[in-house]
Amino acid sequence: MSVAATTSRFKDNVHDALHDQRLQGALPHAKNFIGRRADAAARLPEFDALRDSARAIKDHTLAHLDLYLEAYERKVVEAGGHVHYARDSDEAVAVILGICKARDAKLVTKGKSMASEEIGLNAALEREDIAAIETDLGEYVIQLRGEAPSHIIAPAFHVTRDDIEADFRRAHRDLAPDRDLSRPEQLLSEARAILRDRFLSADVGVTGANFLVAETGTSIIVTNEGNGDLTQTLPKVHVVLASLEKITPTLNDVAQILRVLGRSATGQDMSVYTTLSTGPRRGGDPDGPEEYHVVLLDNGRSATLDGPFAEMLRCIRCGACMNHCPVYHAVGGHAYGWVYPGPMGAVLTPLLIGVAEGGQLPNASTFCGRCEAVCPMRIPLPNLMRTWREREFERRLTPPLARAALRLWAFFAKRPALYRLAVEPTMRGLALIGRRRGRFAWLPLAGGWTRWRDFAAPQGATFQSRWRAKSGAVR
């Protein structure tokens, strides 16, 4: 019952995104992340060594995932918490609904959680007449708009200030219609006041987790606003929803990964709030939840441990790959059509919803390699996208025309003499025909290219012929 995907319509989505003037106005903000991350990395000489350390920790954990899960579960129960397992989104939703109904919950506050987007929790709660309120400012804004996040750490970054003002005026009808909301501070204050009231009256608080610590049975959230903490401290019940790969062996291991997480995400050395939660409130505690539940979501991750995509399970959801992706910068997050956008989404989406549905996303890459260069966990994203493309081709999911063209090219590529025989005269011919203008406004079989821009006229010699000439000269 996860969120409906429009991933299979990726090409249309991209077309719409490129022609959406408002979106194109907002997208340049994504590039702000690049300088911030670079500055934070430059300020820490040990940054790259920490990336290696973080990667090694996750690889070790994934290779022993069953055993660390057992240890984690034991510690949660010891601390008075409950652990639930969910094979898929439907089971996770059912468990959380069960917890809410047992407490006769009417209002659920939510900290930011991509896993909750993945399982489509809000819609499921609403169907049962339980109000679910997103409390992260960006998530709150997109919930008012009925949209999905367009970025995993900045969910509303495609929305302008003017849009938010209009949304607030539409949603907060009890407030004076002539109030001034022209400054961002005023929007923030209004959201703070509205949500403060929700925090205090919520029955259940649902958060995600950045880490689940096997050593202590602790869940950890990393945030900046403080909404996650109010979500999990004030209601009587705290539910943590997390996917299996959030397991981390020890607190010292968490310390290693924390040092690359904030820097890669927002360029912060440390996010404002890193909160460790272990079980429900203790005897003598004046605040905190009475019940503590952890819902562990598989959704195909356990099967992913076998094969090339296991590396994707190191992902810590920092968003650096999309912040540095030229494709993401051009089309934003919604075009990807499901929960996870950008390069990490291009690899993860086919794993979670199938290659038939999500197989187009791995094609949305120029293979420039920036995502891999900045990934704190050193996930070989371009390679994994290439692996998906191969699978898409093997399973005959590529369009027939593209397959025919690739087959034709492969026929020549496998026969170098024939390839040269075909290509070299063509290039010489094109150079001759195009030499006056230096470019072509139209070329047969290249309409997809020349419809939008000119095709530069070749110089005549091919790379291979020049290489041969050069090597000959050296020899």
Binding site: H29, L44, E46, L50, S53, H60, L65, D66, Y68, A71, K75, Y85, A86, R87, E91, L137, V141, A154, F157, T160, P184, E185, L187, L188, R196, L200, A214, E215, T216, N224, E225, G226, L230, L234, P249, L251, N252, A255, Q256, D269, M270, V272, Y273, T274, T275, L276, S277, T278, G279, P280, D285, P286, D287, G288, D298, S302, T304, D306, G307, A310
Partner: protein, 223 residues
């Protein structure tokens, strides 16, 4: 098969391992018991005075303010000064922490309330369990001494840190937690707080005081 059993079976199938595999179990038990320390940045290291200086500059970098006082008895005066100079009401709430309760509050004109926050307090003071020089981070633990609600509900959070509790890095704080609460055990909530609450969700503009405190003032007791 239950969801739990099926997930464990699926993990083991993928990893091509059985449930009883002594070398794997030993590797996991050893890591959990030893909790090896990884790469520690140099930034937070140094003698006590150096650590304190790093803590202060890192905390100020993330928009916290820091004051130093010579002794615990000077804390109420410093807090009264801070509230006055920022035109904040002379009210304050804190928990049962003896270190705070024993301070000479009657010497100030502050109106003091005790216990957890219900959401209508403007100012709260907490005593930190520890602090981290590397990132200017405060570490607060839950309980009646310093209720967690005080860290998030009031507009202005004032935190008292004793200089001896300023550690180089989070690893040292974890060691201190282990020494205090026992191996593998923690209080219900441990808050690592680095600066006041913030959001950049409106057009990437950094705004302070999203849901948590708008101001974070740290008082370091040097004694």
């Amino acid at each position: 098969m239950s969801a739990r059993d099926e997930i464990f079976a699926s993990i083991r199938r993928s990893l091509k391992v059985g449930p009883v595999d002594a070398p794997r179990r030993d590797a996991v038990a050893a890591r959990l018991a030893q909790a090896p320390v990884g790469i520690i940045p140099r930034r937070g290291q140094g003698e006590a005075a150096e650590r304190l200086a790093t803590f202060k500059s890192e905390a100020e970098r993330v928009q916290a303010t820091v004051a130093e006082v010579a002794a615990a008895a000077d804390v109420p005066g410093e807090i009264a000064r801070y509230l006055r100079e920022n035109n904040l009401p002379a009210t304050l709430r804190f928990g049962d922490d003896r270190r705070l309760a024993d301070m000479p509050w009657p010497a100030t004109a502050l109106e003091i309330a005790r216990g957890p926050s219900e959401g209508d307090d403007l100012n709260a003071v907490s005593a930190a369990f520890a602090a981290v020089a590397e990132t200017g981070t405060l570490v607060l633990v839950s309980g009646a001494d310093n209720p967690t609600t005080l860290n998030f509900l009031p507009d202005n959070h004032l935190v008292v840190v004793f200089a001896a509790d300023v550690f180089a890095d989070v690893e040292n704080v974890f060691a201190r937690l282990k020494a205090t609460y026992g191996p593998g055990a923690l209080p219900r909530t441990v808050n690592f707080i680095t600066g006041p609450s913030r959001s950049a969700d409106i057009e990437q503009t950094l705004l302070l005081g999203a849901h948590g405190p708008r101001r974070l003032h740290i008082v370091v007791v040097k004694d």
